[in-house]
Structure formats: C-alpha cells, structure tokens
Symmetry: D3
Subunit: 285 residues, 6 copies
Amino acid sequence: MLMDQHIRSIVGAALLEDAPWGDITSETLIPADAVATALLVAREPGVFSGGAVFAAAMTLTSADISVSLALGDGDAFDRGAVLAEVTGPARAVLQAERIGLNFVQRMSGIATLTARYVAEIAGTRAHIVDTRKTTPGLRQFERHAVRSGGGKNHRFSLSDAVMAKDNHLAVLTAGGRDLTEALREVRLRLSHTTHLEVEVDRLDQIEPVLAAGVDTIMLDNFSLDEMREGVALIGGRAVVEASGNVNLDTVGAIARTGVDVISVGALTHSVRSLDIGLDIALESR
Amino acid sequence: MLMDQHIRSIVGAALLEDAPWGDITSETLIPADAVATALLVAREPGVFSGGAVFAAAMTLTSADISVSLALGDGDAFDRGAVLAEVTGPARAVLQAERIGLNFVQRMSGIATLTARYVAEIAGTRAHIVDTRKTTPGLRQFERHAVRSGGGKNHRFSLSDAVMAKDNHLAVLTAGGRDLTEALREVRLRLSHTTHLEVEVDRLDQIEPVLAAGVDTIMLDNFSLDEMREGVALIGGRAVVEASGNVNLDTVGAIARTGVDVISVGALTHSVRSLDIGLDIALESR
Amino acid sequence: MLMDQHIRSIVGAALLEDAPWGDITSETLIPADAVATALLVAREPGVFSGGAVFAAAMTLTSADISVSLALGDGDAFDRGAVLAEVTGPARAVLQAERIGLNFVQRMSGIATLTARYVAEIAGTRAHIVDTRKTTPGLRQFERHAVRSGGGKNHRFSLSDAVMAKDNHLAVLTAGGRDLTEALREVRLRLSHTTHLEVEVDRLDQIEPVLAAGVDTIMLDNFSLDEMREGVALIGGRAVVEASGNVNLDTVGAIARTGVDVISVGALTHSVRSLDIGLDIALESR
Amino acid sequence: MLMDQHIRSIVGAALLEDAPWGDITSETLIPADAVATALLVAREPGVFSGGAVFAAAMTLTSADISVSLALGDGDAFDRGAVLAEVTGPARAVLQAERIGLNFVQRMSGIATLTARYVAEIAGTRAHIVDTRKTTPGLRQFERHAVRSGGGKNHRFSLSDAVMAKDNHLAVLTAGGRDLTEALREVRLRLSHTTHLEVEVDRLDQIEPVLAAGVDTIMLDNFSLDEMREGVALIGGRAVVEASGNVNLDTVGAIARTGVDVISVGALTHSVRSLDIGLDIALESR
Amino acid sequence: MLMDQHIRSIVGAALLEDAPWGDITSETLIPADAVATALLVAREPGVFSGGAVFAAAMTLTSADISVSLALGDGDAFDRGAVLAEVTGPARAVLQAERIGLNFVQRMSGIATLTARYVAEIAGTRAHIVDTRKTTPGLRQFERHAVRSGGGKNHRFSLSDAVMAKDNHLAVLTAGGRDLTEALREVRLRLSHTTHLEVEVDRLDQIEPVLAAGVDTIMLDNFSLDEMREGVALIGGRAVVEASGNVNLDTVGAIARTGVDVISVGALTHSVRSLDIGLDIALESR
Amino acid sequence: MLMDQHIRSIVGAALLEDAPWGDITSETLIPADAVATALLVAREPGVFSGGAVFAAAMTLTSADISVSLALGDGDAFDRGAVLAEVTGPARAVLQAERIGLNFVQRMSGIATLTARYVAEIAGTRAHIVDTRKTTPGLRQFERHAVRSGGGKNHRFSLSDAVMAKDNHLAVLTAGGRDLTEALREVRLRLSHTTHLEVEVDRLDQIEPVLAAGVDTIMLDNFSLDEMREGVALIGGRAVVEASGNVNLDTVGAIARTGVDVISVGALTHSVRSLDIGLDIALESR
C-alpha cells in the first residue's frame, strides 16, 4: 500500500518541480479570492488508480482545497464519468491541475492496460505481474496501479528476491559444476523468507533446477507447446512463470498453458496516459 | 543542460529504489572478483539520449566501472548499433543494468519520437516543442530528450512564463472589461524577461490580444484554414503556436500553415521505451 | 509568490540551525505553562515584507502559537507601528523570536530600500529590478521582498533567460563574424519563451544588436547623455535596461532618460536589516 | 572550522538555486571546448574570507576547474590584489562566477568589518564577538568570517549556552523570590559544560548575580562610567560582556572600560558585500 | 529538549525503513475498518522515557490514531504499569507497533540504567553524565533519556566544548613547552562561552593545569585515594570529573570522594532494551 | 550487502551530528600539519564487522586519510589483534575517532554475540536469524553484522514478507470461519515471491495451517517436547521457525529439536559494544 509519507514526498517534489517560485499566470490573472469548482472527468473508459495521489497534489498546494473522490482505486468507469470533485481557491486549483493530472493519467493508464491483460486471461489460473521496468522514482506508484488493474506485483527490487538468469547459471556451472548441487548450495545461503526463482531457456534445464528445490521456475521465451510441456514437467512442485513475447494477442493462449504467473514488462515500461481532464468553473467571491 | 549534481541525485535515488539493501542475486551467485564487459546495443533504430544518465547509473553503483559512450545525445543509430561499452565488476554491472536501461530506453524513446515529428515538418519554419505533461520528477531529463530529438522546449514550469488560457481570459473580461486593456495591464505587472503567451479559440480574439502586445499567441484547436488565416492576421507581430490534435499524421500540414511553434503533449505524456539492451559477458579473474 | 512548502523548508532549517537541541535558556528559566503575548513593533519607518515567513517561524516552533498580521507585505508603516501580534507558549515564542526577526528585518530592509528607489523614479516609465546578487539560499525570499517594495524581478536564474555580456559577444564575433548574424542564429536556437537580452558598452553596438531582434538591450555604464541617445536609437524596438553606477542619488536622472528598466544590485547584495523588535510580555498560567 | 561536507551542501544548493537546469546563456553562446582563465581581484582593500567556499563553487560546477588561492582566510589585502586564480572550461567558470562571488563578497565583507572593530580596540583586553543575528542558513559561514576578521564567536545557538535576559529574570524573581537563590538553582540544573551568562541593566543587579556563580555578566546598554564601575565591581569573578550601542565610533571607549567581550550585532545583521570581481579571459581550444 | 521537527524526522525515517511500501501482513489480513485499542504495558519496572517519540510513531503512521500518555518522561513505574493508551485503525496500530516499541524500549532502558547510577550516588554532590558513545543518529534521543533518568549531559559534540586529553597535552608540551603557558594561550583563543576541560592522568598534572584557569579537570582512571587527593588539591577552583572504571559497584565510592561529575559511557554505549510491550485488542467496526 | 551510497549517507549524518561545526579541540590544540598513525586494536576477542563503515568515518572526515583493513567482516580475532591501520592528518583522525569506534564497536558486538549463538547450534540443521528489533535507522548495518557473525536475516521489513500472528489469526477466523480456507485465500492474494509465515501457539493449529500451503510455521513459545512434536508433524512440508525464550543457554537444545530457523531478538534489541580502541600516535611534520 502506498504510505502517506511517501505520497507527500513524491507529490511535493513534483509540485515544486512544476512551480519552483509559484504560478505566475494565476497570480497575475486570477483574483486571490476567486473560488474554483472542478470535476475530474474521464474522456475515455478505463480503470481508476491514483485517487489519493491526485488528492495530495491538490491539498499539498493549498490546505484550503477539498477533494471528494467518487471512485476507489480499481473501479472501472465509462467515458464521461466524474471521478472526483474539487473545490478551493482558484489560484491553487489551477496551479495543482497539471501535476494532479500527470499522476492520475499515468496511474490510470497503467491500471487500465493491466485490466485488459487480466481480462484476456479470465478463467485461467494465471496472474498478471509487473516487472522492474518501472519509471525511476515512481515504482511504488506504478506497482500500486498494476494492483488497481487486477494484476499482482513481482519482486519489488533486487534486494527482496533472487532471480537467477542465464548469465548467473553460466557462472554457477562454470568448470562443469553440477547445476542442482550449485543451486542447493545457493538455497542454503539464502534467508528462509527469500524467494528463489530460476529462469530456464530449455525444457531439459527444468529437472535439475527443480531438484534443487527452487520456488519459481521462469520459462523464458518458450513456445506454447514447450510451455505446456514445462508445466506438466514441473507438476506443481514450483510456481511457473511465463515471460517473453507477451502481449494482448498472446497472453490468453499463454495463460491457457497452465502457467501460474505471466510477467508483462509493457505494463510499465511504456505508459499511455489515460485521457482524464479537469473541468474547472471559476467564480469570484 | 542537465546538471551533474541533478543527474547524480535522480539516478542515485533510482538505484536505491531498485536495490535498497543490495542485489542479493548477484551477491549470492556471482563471485566478487568476476569482471563483466557489456555492450549497450540498439535492438531497433532510433535517436540516442541519456548517455550521461546511463553512465551515471553504472559509475554510481561502482566507481570501478568504466563507461565509454560511442554516440552523443542526438545521434541517430540503426538496429544493432553499439551505443556504449561498459567494463567493471560483474556484480555491479548486473546490479546497475536495469536502472541504466530504464533511463536510456525512456529518454531515447522520447528523442526518437521527437525526431519523427521533426522530420515531418522539415522545410517549414516551425519548431516542435514539448509541454508540461512530463513524468513527475523527470522533467529535466525528458526536456533534454526532446532537445536530443531536435525539438525545443516550452516554458519549464509555471514560474517562468505566463500562459493565459480560456479560464483566465474569462476572469480578465468579467463584467465586460476590455480584453486589450486588461492584457496591457497584465503586461505592465510582469517582469520584462517574462514571456506572455495567450491562448485563443477564435479568430476574432486575435486582434484584441495582439493589440496588447503579447509575445506569443496560441491557436488552440484551430482548423488548418483557420490556422492559415490566423498566421496571416498576426503577420509576424507575435510568435504563433499551434496546439491540439497534433499527431504524426497531422503535424506536417499544421507546419505548412506557417505557424512558428507546434506543441506536442504526446512527446512525453505517453512514453514508449525504445528497445535497447545490454549484452553482458562475464569472466572470472 | 512564495510557496508554503518552500517557506516551511527554509524556515524549518533556520530554526534547527538556531536550536539544534532546543532552547536551553527557556527550558531552564521559563515555566512550561507560561504564556507570552508579543507585539512585532517597528523601531523605524519602512515597508513591510516577510509576514508569512515571520509567522512560519512562530508556528513551526509550536503549533500552539497564533500570529495575527496587522499589515500585508508591501504596506508602509511608521516608527512605532505594530506589525503583528503573537500569542502562545512563552518558551516557544522566546525560542522563535530571533529567527522570526532575522527574516522579517532582512526582508523589510530590502523592501524599504527598494521603495526608496521606486520613490525616486516616480513619474517616469522606468521600473526598478533586482539582480542575481542575492543571498545564497534566500533568493526567492529576497525577490519577494523586492516586489513588496514596488520593484520587479529580473530573471530568476541562469536557466530562464539569456543575457549576453561582453565576454559572450567577444566569443560570438571571434574571427570577424558579423554580430547581427551571430545573434540571429542564437535566437533561432532558443525556445520561443526564452527572453534574449544583450549588454552593450557603446552606442554603435545598438543597431547591429537590434537588427537581430533581441528582446532587451542593456546599456552598461552609459553616461546620461549616451543613455538618452540609446533610448532614442532603440525607439521602442526593444526593452531598454540601464545598469551600472545606480544609487539613490543617480537613479532619478537615469529614469528620466527614458529607459524601461533599471537594475540595482544594491537592493540585495548588501542588506541593512530594518530595526524591528518583538516586545514580549510573559504571564504564568 | 567549516566542515567540507557542510560547504558542499550549502554551496551545492546555491548553485542549483542559480541554475536549476543549467546556464542557457553559456550553453548557447560559448563553445563547449572554450577555456577560461580568471583572476579573483579585489576592487577595494579588505580582509579575505571564504576561500574554500569560493573554490567549492567552482569545483562543484565542474570537476575540471582548478582553483589556486593566493591568500588564506584572515589575510588582509589591498585594492587590486589577486586573491585567487581559476582555470577551467569557460562555460562552467561563467556559470559559477556569480555564486562564487556572492559568497566571497559577503564573507570578506563581514571579515573586513570585523577587522575594523578589532583595530579600534587594539591594546585593550577586549574581544569582539558576533551574535545570533546571522543570515538564516549561513550562520557557520558568517561565524567563520568573523573569525577571519580577528573576532571571536559568541554561543552558536540556543542549545549550547544559557543567556538569561530581563524577561527571564523577571520570571525567576516573580513572587519576590531571591535572585541569587534562583540563579543558584538554575546553575545546579545545568550541565557542567554549559556556560551561564546573565544580562543586567543596572549596577545593583551585579552583586546578587555574581553571588550565584555565573560565568559571564552582560552589561546591557550601560554608560561608559557605569561600565567602568561594573568591571570594578565584578573584579575578575566573571567574564564581562558589553552590549548595546556598539559601533565603530564607540567601540574603542567601550573596550577601554576594561570589559572582556564586546558583542556586535552589526557584524552580521547588515552585510555590505566587499567589492571583489572576477576578471575572465576566454580562449577557444 | 527534543524538537518536534527532529522527532518527526527521525521517527518518520524509521517508519519508512520498517515499511517502505506498507505492511503487507496487515493489509492482507486485517479489514480496513477494524479498530484497535492498545495498552503500552511495562513487563518489568523502570523509568519512562520516550513518550513523545512513541506517540509520534503512532500518529505519523496514521493521523487517526490517538495516544494518551499515562506517565511523563522521568516517571518511575512498576511491572504491569500501563504507560500509554492507543486507539485507532488496527492496520496502522499494528504497523507502528514495532517501531514505537523499538524507540521506547531503548530510551526507557537508558533512563532506567541511568536512574540506577543516580540512586547509587544519592546524598553526594556528584552528578552522573553521559558521553559521546551514543548510537549514531540518535544522540539527542539518548541524551534526553539520560536526563529522564536523572542524569545530566556532557558536551553535545566536538563543536561545543574543548576536552584536552593525553594526546593533546603531549602535543602542547612538545619541545619542553610549559603546560600552564600553553593552556593559557589556548584559553585566550577560545570563545568566552566555550568550556575548557583537561584530562589528567597523574596528581602532579593538576597544579599546572589549574594555574591556567581551566573550567573542568577530569581525573582519568584515578584510584579512590588519588581521587580524594585530587579533589582536595583542586579545592573548588575547577569542576572535578571522574572517568574510567565506573560501574554500578564502583560509582558510589567514586561519588563519595567528592567529585562533581562522573561520566559513564555504559549509559549509552551498550543498551539493554527495557521489556515494554503493546497489548492490542482488535474489533471490527 | 551494504550499499556505498547508504554507508556514506548514514556515516556522513553521524559525523555531522558529532561535529556540526568542527572539532574545536583538535583545531585549537593540534597543529594543522600534524600527522597521526593509528591502530584499531581489539581489547577483547570477537568477530569483526563494520570495516567499511569504520573506513568511511575516516575518509569522509578527510579524503587525505587512508585506511587499511587487516580483517574482513566475519573474521574472528583475539584480544590485542590489530584490526585496521589508519594514517592521515591528525586533526581529522582525532575528529573521526569516536564515530568510527561507535559504529565498529556496535557492529562487532552484534557479530560476536551472533557467533556465540551460532557456535551453540553447531552440528544441527538450524540457522540463527535476527528480528525487526533493530536500532531505528541502522537496520541494514545491524543485519549486516548478524551475517558477519554467521547468522541469517529474517524479513527486512513489514513490506517484504507476511507474518501472521495470533491477532491476525483471530481476525481471520472471526465468525467461525475455517482457518485453512482463510489462509488459502490469503495466499491467493499474495504475490508469488512473497513468503507466507504463520505463527502458531499450539500443536493443533499446525495441521490446518499446513493444509493452506504456507511457507514457514513459527512455533511460538513451545516447550522442547512440543517443538520436537511440531517438527515431526510438519515433516518438511514447511520451514519450521522457533521463537521465544531463546538465549545462549537454551538455543542448543532448541536447535536439536530439528527446527530450521531460530529467531533471536537479543541479537539486536540490546547491544553490548565490543571493546575496540584506537591507539593513536601523533607526529608533527
């Protein structure tokens, strides 16, 4: 869950980035006592994420702004839906507008895309998960958005789970060392709460990896047939993750091979902001 | 230009976000004395941006990593091109890989997209400029990427130029006040270095705005015919900016109406990471 | 305008600098439940600036202090005027006193000096502006104080306007290059919102600079006669800034030459704190 | 002594304040490979302070700048003296110039003023000390400058010494309590390293304060005759500090009354920047 | 006294360290609307310290938590005593529990140990003081805890008092220089508020040190007989501090030698957390 | 592993805490050009931890100090062993001494205590792990020290593993809900890399918990007989953690019951600093 302290820190920095010495347009053109009422309106359908972040952009700009969220994170909405109402000093609302939108458009964009992936795999046992291909500095916000869309999160960082890839395996088995033995020794050195995931490129790697007692096996760039065979081989002895060539066209078939987890870099490495706008009405007091 | 101090601050925070207490995979699987040689390779053609940022991700992870950039920011490259070479402790190179890529993929993605817009308007007097629809916290990086792609930057923030939009004009002319008079007074209250830009929705707004002596007039959502007429009306007395409905299909025609500046939110509000990879070779010492 | 977030950051740091582990005098000598009522009193006439900053020094020290400002920033006052009233826990009021005064004395000192310059040029078209000769870390506070005194601000920083001085012009015209051509090319490389100001030392530089279409010409260390001639030559085609040898004795004559802007480093490079005191009455509860 | 870590923090923040996204003038007008050689030159005589701070402004802007200081902090110089030499990339030298000057002009201004006070009291036992009337955020720099000028520092902050003033004494003796007894109890509650200073307004307060065993007695706004009498009364049993109405005209006579310490708020509460300039010569490589 | 700003900074960082992206256990297992009522209960007798710090851990986690402290810092309590009551959202109370306890257990552990030392020297003139052997980052909290236990603080840092040890004295008297002379010169260079303490290893060092007019003499690792002799020699002309081999068995005898101050590194260099627990009752709304 | 960036941040803050405006003792008493050679010497046997942290305290104080570590973290040493050699400017070495020692004494104290626990369970399958009862702000340092002593780490924070305790289970089964069903649903909501640990108080809770497929079962305050029975019941289907009443006298017997993991709060909740000193020799240049 997003920590309030973290939201305030990230959003506060973004507000200062966008107005280091105030909003000279509003200060010059808008009377200090003008009041704005604004609606956050969806210009296309989607899944909401970032309500608390949008609200923080407003209330950190002025404690006199009040924000009422009409939807919770994870709620779907249609084009034209009112997502939130904002009331407060007009100068402050105008100043906060762009930053509030920048956050909620991106987070809702991620949630909406995630939900499309999730919809494609409905009825299967699989889960959609994110990757570490997140925007620097915004990982927690983007992981939250993935959850809003019905996805789950992969490891948060390099510090909280082991993922052994081809490079690592090559080092482990250098000099002809047995892979199972090598992985068993790795397992012994890890803390008991540390998840051990190993990426395999070929079916014949599965058995030696499984024999070492790993938690997850990632099938990297397997064909659908190989994936099915891999799932059968593993037989519930480890979580099975599929990775590579995942898109909205392929994800359904991948899920139907029986894998447990499908990781999708596209959820966050490329972000299409959802079209959400702020309709503002001003009145002087 | 990006300040070194700023690069170190942003990249350092991203590295800590991705490895708050180290990379447990590398520490468990890779010998401390293993050395990595890595090539930053383009998997698709594009325009380079973020070389110094990529290098900082490496050298901030370990002062023993050396990075040699093969291209400068703004250079175009083909698929397969080697963009940089990296040598250093294998653990550190593997730890820095994802963050280095996250930055350079996004920045080169923006530069590449910008360059496509710029190419579409070749031969016209127009310039492509960005907007404030940037990723929170990364505005300077993204503006730099726009410049790498041959674009220019709009105002940096709410603090350094005035942009009067419909809401503001409505307030200015409340009670039947004359727009020209109102804008003249605004001008008087601004510092002499502050740029004054006014957004108009209709052709008949141009003359009263011009009469006040503004610096730039933004034609918002004008048709091509209206745009041409607007350019003629303004006749060089102010910079002309076109905004709204700008995409790769429309931008050429817009530019040929004679406008000076075309602002494109899509340059940064939705980012497609360019496919750039790091090919790593390990050797034990 | 000063951002609340910025005020809190700067004032909070100043309070910690002055009392890293509390005010041991108050804690030892004043009962915890003593209450103080205090008046912020002018010991000499002047122009007020820094009300919100003074208030922040109080309320950041203790949320139980209330501050009522009697004047707004920019208001003039006589000797003996009450500028603000403060009520709250005596320990906290005593602890915050010096920092509150340090800020408001300096800011009101700058506002008062600025107002004297502004008074000297009454009836002319000129404006008084500040420079980058501000106290490191306090630029926004000092620029605000200049505005309180009726002045305007020059560019905020090196990042938001171009100012080409003699050194730059020498480089531009190295190898006999034409100045007008060189400046035109500079203009083309700038964003449309970036103000371009060029400093000239001699009258014969004005025409080639003007021909390039610059926004402001600064007449550096011109005699009054040269200034008048410069203003006439420029003829409204650019803003005219006067700089050099500006003091309270000379500023009136300078303004009457017809220049638009007079920059005065002395507004901030040397600060005379205005004599403002806090008269405190204590009572035990 | 100034800590390197502290200098880097303060100067780094000042550089970012002055060039948040670079120096667009230098970047537009100066070739990237141009080299600058610059002399820091005194335009009036004075006492040097801030050498390390000036150097940090340069080297933090570019690690390729080298600075050679010709004088140490505390050294006196004549008009025209070269205080330091700077060599490095021209863009960086130009960018750092203003911030480097802002610091060294202010610090040398304080040192020079302090030295004038110190000169006035030559031959007496007295020392000139500063007060807490420093620029918020720059206290350590300004205290250092006072030492450069031959002065000493008073307490650093509210946390490291007790100074009981009239308000405090009124509270202490409320209800007719004996002052000596009250101060003795205060003394008992203090740490043994905490200095206890008491301000007195009248001669008859001295004996009861002394009887409590305080470390310093401050004679506030005493006439010269009263001061002499006070010094005699105290007779070496406590340090004697004079405060109030101290200026360059009065300080000599005050010192000759025999006091030990004279505190001078004017050293820092109003700063006249010393006229020091940077003479820059550019050459292209 | 602990500054609120400092408490918030330290406690906020600790909360983020312990839950960088939330408490996934509570978020998964506890309903969002569940309410917790909790008692902070002593599982062993002791002296309370850290009430405000404990409360901050709760209220910084959620502004909806209310904390009512039953004891003030410095109050003694028995096993089973209720030290505070907490009410608020169950998720937040559970999330804050460990950090709140970590602080209050350590601070009360220090206060309790200090109180035991203080009890051992009851009836003597001596005071127990801490040293600089504190936990990095928590010095102010630990000094506060020492005061809660009835102890006093030694100098806060290297910046606020001089303590000359054997190494320093060796340097001072290198080349046969007279120690008294050397120390007198040191004294002259110090500010009048700076405490000068000198450590001696032998009785014959006392007279030359005293002759220089130092504030405190520390008797380092003296036997009880030597200490008594030292106290007599000094005869009230300086504060006498005992240091070395101080523990609960020896401190009473040391105090009875007549020393003024006994410094005890063990108060903070080794911390035994006091056994304090949080008894939590949950109810769903 | 400790990140360099993290070490610099924590150690830098500690150095500033201990010398906010320098070390006035060294600056007053030690010549600027004096050189110190120092040995870090063990005054009692133990296990080393914190070498890099100690070195950082030195080199961050002065880049002219060089540190040569004689032991690696995790190496055991005898009384009198030289752990590191330090050479550099005497003022800086003296200034850094206390902070360097504060860190290395505490970290080596934790490593040494951990090693004693590890020695007690030699020959069993069990591992010693730490808890979240760490010093606020120093968790990464203390976890590193536990690893130096041969222990392993439990979860880093509330964010990276689920640990369901009695309170949570009570909520889960409120209204008579089946525990196995409830835990299965919890499992489904977790990410696949998230470790799920459940604490049980009674043997009859084990089977329903196991049936839900949890990763670790913690036996809380079980007798040795119950523990043995619990291990047999679980039969390798989950990791078994023992917790409660663990001390050096009991840990061996606990380990011999066959549990996998023994968590020991005492490793970090109470720290006994190891007696390590710095023997400094000064020489003037």
